[in-house]
Every structure is written in structure tokens, then in C-alpha cells.
Amino acid sequence: MRVLAAMSGGVDSAVAAARAADAGYDVTGVHLALSRNPQTYRSGARGCCTLEDARDARRAADVIGIPFYVWDLAERFHEDVVDDFVAEYAAGRTPNPCLRCNEKIKFAAVLDRALALGFDAVVTGHHARRDAHGRLRRSADPGKDQSYVLAVLTADQLAHSIFPLGDSTKAQVRAEAAARGLAVADKPDSHDICFIADGDTRGWLRSRLGEQPGDIVDGATGEVLGRHAGAYGYTVGQRKGLGLDRPAPDGKPRYVLSITPVSNTVTVGPAAALEVTTVYGDRPLWTGPSPVSVDVQLRAHGSVVPAQVTVSDGRLVAELARPVRGVAAGQAIVGYQPDPDGDIVLGSATISHATSLAGVA
């Protein structure tokens, strides 16, 4: 079987490629060039898009002994991930670009090209498992699990994906990389968003969207409490950086409750007003039964909450067993069926909005 290993230049994808080669696959390594200008993306050891990362990937491929190429997906990445990221923020939502990259780039543009070129599957270094039935499961390393950002994959995409790291912890992967003589063994993990070089998302968005001053209003009274330079700089559940000089009457901290692009307002209020009990999702991709009792996860690396999920008419509704704070539109809701061999992903949807029993927010 001929497989294409996506190699970011990090330790995970290097070990994944090496394991695929050991398993007897005919492996070809590919580094995806995602930046229009490789110098501008995050530099140093943290990213996946710099010239240094391309070199690290190439050296790993040399050590493993597989052919290696760089594929230029900068245009696709820009259109499908970066532009989408900006548009989502402009629309008052909080997107997850890694998830979008998996959905549109790694397991779409790259996978399609690989299949057409005669490869049978794509290998990645994601920490997740695909079981014998083709179902996606959480990684053996709960702290590193990436099933959340893979939950947007269709059964067909999953059927052509290989995740060799699913049964290992990150520590095991690093140790194995060192034993294999891979120089990336102790390269730091990538964090944050690869295309925002300095990690300043708000500043980056400001340079794309410009200043758009508007009001910060009190969710209960409608009173204008302050001004903001652009509603896109805020995320539901955010507490820091509101810049309000008047404290709440009860002295308790205030949080972003919602963002309304039409009126360009950011609505704030007490923590209790953040609580939601019903979450609505668009574009569901659901393989489980409906309705069904499952655990749902509402943000990357978030904890799960039991819920009753119903999927019908292109819409997902989750009634949460207990209130949850800070659910942001644009994030994914992912359903898991608890299982000792790794919780099984039943499906996902994009959160459109959420409500509390009291009907606020």
C-alpha cells in the first residue's frame, strides 16, 4: 500500500511517518507549504510553516529513508482557512482554524491529490485513533487528544486516513523519536495559530479588518459601559482586556456574553449569565443514533458534559445535563460515546448559538 505522510516538521508527524514505514507501507513524505511568504509565519521551533520547519521535515524524511516533497498549498490555505478565519471573526463567531485546516486542506485538498496520484491513504501525526470499524476515537493520551479537530471528517475521509500515534502518549512519541535519531525529538510543540506570527490574534485581526469602534453594553440594563476598537477582538466568555473603568455594582467580574456584528456591540454581564443549557449546531456530521445520550465537548481541550443530542433537518440540538459557561458560536460541538478503549466520536456540528433555560444569551 502506498501512503502519503504529511510532515509538518514536528516530532509527531515524523514518528507517524516512521511507524508507517516500519509497518510495511510504501511511504512518501510531503511537507505542506501553507504560507504565501514562508518568512512571515511563526518562526523558530513553535510553528509548522517556516522554512526551518520544511527543513526539519526533510531531515526527518532522510533519516526515515523515504522520498520527500514540498507541496504548495498556500493559496488554498489562504482561501479556505485564513480568509475563513477572518470572516468568522467579522461575523461575531470564534472559529477553530486547525479544524478547518483538517477539513479543507489535509483531508480534502491533500487527500484528494494523494488518491488521484495513486496513493491509498494519508498518514498524519494526530493524536487520535481510528478503530477496526473505521470509527474515530480519542487518543491514549488524554492530554494530547486531537479527536476534536478531526471530528469534522466524513467516513470516507476517515477510511483513507492513518493515525499511527493513537495508542501512544506524547512522552512515548518523543522517546521513540530520540531512539530513532530524529532531530525533532525535543522540538517544542506548536501552539496557537500558525499564521499569526506573534500570537497576537486581536492585533492581527485589526490589521485585516481595521478599527471598528463600537459600544460595550450591559446585558441586563442595556447601558453603555465603554467602547471597543472592534467587536472581532472579543470572544464569548472572555474576562480579561475589556477595559471597563466602572466596576459592576456587585463588584464581581464581567464577561463577554455575546457579540452582535449588526450593531457592532459587545454585550457583557456576570458569570451566571454565561451559562447555557441548550446548544444548537449547523452542518451536522452525525454517525450515531438520534436522539441519543452522549458526552459533548464544546471547545478544543474543553471538558465534556452529558447531553441529549437530537439531529434532524440539517440541525443539531444538544440539551445539556448541566449548565456550561462560555459556549462560543463558530466552535464545534463534538459528541462522544464513552468507551474504555477511547471515547468514540459520534459526530460534530458547528455551534450556531446557545440558550439558557431562562432564555437569555
Binding site: H31, A54, P67, V70, L117
Partner: protein
């Protein structure tokens, strides 16, 4: 392996390798005054005479460098600086639009950092410069003209003698990058009328990292590298005796063999073109169909990406090239094809096969066996560009 990438680099000739190894055993800095130094110097001067004789230059016109890129930079920047220093009004560079990056980017640098103005000479659809286009832009403000002898991507041979004569009539030095030409075409420095000519070792059977700039005696040139002034005070650095000796050996042999090479390799190349066309009837041959390097075949395969074809052929043991410049391994659409009027799709769908002194018919057999399957797959991959959006 089927090696069809001789324009990138060609295997070293056994005689050149032998000369290299023999020379590298001896100690001696060619600038030293003692016997060992004199011996090294003698080897260098013999090599200089060998190169001069092979290319019909005078020994004093041969400046050894670290290869084609250095020679191009030295000619373009050095002649520009010297000519501008002599007359500040001379700030224009006239350059071919299909040059190798070693010229292209050196000219671009003069424009962005030295206040040069640039006239890029357009090419026609086969990549050829019309002499009229040069005549039109030649004026008193021109510091130098640089246009290559033969193109490294599509193989088109330029009308160098005509171009050089036009420049000479206006007293403007003409530089020709002849990296791909030496050993493939007759190259006569004195007869061609060019003022400066770039040669590189590893394209003609010599080692990598050594080459020469042939520079007419009366052509002013400001050095790039300052130091001991070893090469006519135009180029500094301790001379690489084994590299220079091996380079000169390869120049001599490849120039002597040029006619036979052009005949044998040219016939193989014609067969390659015919059989590729038979296997892929819609393949488009790029470059001048007649006046081209004997080892060069360059095609566009509609609906395919050159990158994808390269990967598939590589997997089948066939080495070729998309012929375009790489940054971090990412192929950009070739400036050569774009200058020839190709659109981005045609530029991206291109692939270069180049033959050399070790090529045989078996290479063509292997290519033609693998090509149809590769094209079919690459075409399918080309279609995926627009799906799943």
C-alpha cells in the same frame, strides 16, 4: 536510475575526477613563492591556457571563480559598477527576460539597491530575443547588456553574435551566460564579440563549485570579493587548484567532443521528443523546435501539474525537473514560460528532460514506459484542485 536532468548537473567525467584527485594530493598555495607554490601556480596557469584555447580566449581573459552564479554576479554587478564609476550617466542595464536567476536577481538587486534602471528584453513564443528589441533600447546611458547564450529551461539558443554586435557598435559591454552552451554548442569567445562570458564546471563534466568568467582585457570590472587579488585583481581568494585543474580538463574534453555530442545526443533527444509525443499526443514542446540545445526537451502536459508528474516519475526511478526555481522546494510558475506568453496553467504543467554524455536509448525507453501512467494520474490529480471546496 534513469537520469534525465543533466541540465541541473551532469556526472563528472572520469578524466576530470582523476585530474582532481591527482592535484588534491599536492600541497601548495598558488600565490606562494616557494617551489610548492610555484608548482601549484603552474597547474593553474596550464589550466587557464587550456580553458582559453578551448573557448578561443586569451589566457589573461580567464578569471577562475566558484561557479556560474559567481561569474554571473561578477559580470553583472562588476561591469555595472565600473561603467557607472567612469560615467555616472550610465545607469541602465539591459537584460534578457528569460535569464537564469543568477543574472535575473543580480540585475534586480542593482535596480533595488543601486539605482539602476532596467530594460528587460522581451522574447517571442519560443523564448528568443529579437535583435531589434535590443537595438531599440541601446542608448548612451546603458552600462551593460546581459543575455544568455542558451536557455537552461527551454533550451532556446539566442542570436548571441547579432546581439553582441549591436552592443559593440554602441560601445556597450555584452555579457552572455553560456553555462548551458559550452560543450553543447560551438562557443568561440573571440569570434562571438561578447565582452564577458560565464562558464560553470558541473554542467559540462567538471566539479561543482568551480567555473570561470571570460572577461575581455579592456572591460572594466569592479570586484565583488576583495582580498589578495589573485585573479587579475578582479577576484580574490586562494585558488582552488584541484577544482581548476579538473574544470579545465572537463572544458577541454567537452569542447573537443562538442560536435559528436551534438550529433549523438541531439539524435537521442529527437527520438525522445517523437516518442513522448506519440505517448502523449497533446504534449506541447516548448522552446525553439530547431535552434535549441541538443540535450534539451521541454514539454507542457495539459491538465497536469509538473510537480505531480515529477513525483510519479521519481517513484518510477526517473529523474527530471520542472525546470523552475525553488524556494523551500516550492515550485513557482517559471518566469521563462511566462515571458514566452504561456499562462500560469501551461507554465505549471511543464517538465524538462535533459540528456547528457551518459544518456542512452534505455533512458528514453524507461521514460516512455512510465510516462502515460504518470500523465493519467497527474491529470486526475489536476482535476481535484476544484473539488470539495
Amino acid at each position: 536510475m534513469t537520469y534525465l536532468d543533466h541540465a541541473a548537473t551532469t556526472p563528472i567525467l572520469p578524466e576530470a575526477l582523476e585530474a582532481y584527485l591527482a592535484a588534491s594530493g599536492a600541497v601548495g598555495n598558488a600565490s606562494s613563492l616557494h617551489a610548492a607554490g610555484r608548482h601549484a601556480r603552474r597547474r593553474v596557469e596550464e589550466a587557464r591556457e587550456q580553458v582559453a584555447a578551448a573557448l578561443r580566449a586569451r589566457p589573461s581573459e580567464v578569471i577562475f571563480t566558484a561557479g556560474g552564479t559567481e561569474s554571473d554576479n561578477l559580470a553583472v554587478k562588476g561591469v555595472f559598477w565600473a561603467r557607472r564609476a567612469a560615467d555616472p550617466a550610465r545607469i541602465r542595464v539591459v537584460a534578457g527576460s528569460v535569464e537564469h536567476h543568477a543574472v535575473l536577481d543580480a540585475v534586480g538587486w542593482l535596480e533595488s539597491h543601486e539605482g539602476a534602471t532596467v530594460s528587460w528584453l522581451p522574447v517571442d513564443e519560443v523564448g528568443r530575443i529579437a535583435p531589434d528589441a535590443l537595438a531599440e533600447v541601446l542608448d548612451d546611458d546603458v552600462a551593460l547588456v546581459t543575455a544568455m547564450w542558451a536557455n537552461n529551461e527551454v533550451g532556446t539558443v539566442q542570436p548571441v553574435a547579432e546581439l553582441a554586435a549591436l552592443a559593440a557598435a554602441r560601445g556597450v559591454p555584452y555579457h552572455a551566460d553560456a553555462v548551458q552552451a559550452v560543450g553543447q554548442l560551438p562557443v568561440d569567445f573571440a569570434g562571438s564579440g561578447v565582452a564577458a562570458l560565464t562558464v560553470s564546471g558541473h554542467k559540462l563534466g567538471g566539479p561543482v563549485g568551480v567555473g570561470a568568467l571570460l572577461l575581455g582585457r579592456d572591460i572594466p570590472c569592479t570586484p565583488l570579493l576583495h582580498g589578495g587579488g589573485q585573479e587579475r585583481d578582479v577576484r580574490s581568494g586562494t585558488l582552488d587548484v584541484p577544482g581548476i585543474v579538473a574544470f579545465a580538463t572537463a572544458v577541454e574534453i567537452s569542447v573537443k567532443a562538442q560536435e559528436a555530442f551534438a550529433c549523438r545526443v541531439g539524435a537521442l533527444r529527437d527520438e525522445l521528443i517523437d516518442r513522448v509525443r506519440a505517448a502523449a499526443p497533446d504534449a506541447v514542446l516548448n522552446g525553439d523546435p530547431r535552434d535549441r540545445l541538443p540535450g534539451n526537451a521541454h514539454f507542457s502536459f495539459p491538465g497536469c501539474e509538473g510537480d505531480a508528474l515529477l513525483l510519479l516519475l521519481d517513484a518510477a526511478g526517473i529523474a527530471c525537473s520542472t525546470g523552475s526555481a525553488c524556494s523551500a522546494g516550492v515550485a513557482q510558475p517559471s518566469h521563462v514560460l511566462l515571458a514566452m506568453g504561456a499562462d500560469e496553467d501551461r507554465a505549471r504543467s511543464s517538465l524538462r528532460f535533459t540528456l547528457g554524455h551518459t544518456s542512452t536509448q534505455a533512458d528514453i525507453d524507461a521514460l516512455v514506459a512510465a510516462l502515460p501512467g504518470a500523465i493519467e494520474r497527474a491529470r486526475r490529480a489536476g482535476l481535484t484542485k476544484s473539488t470539495r471546496r
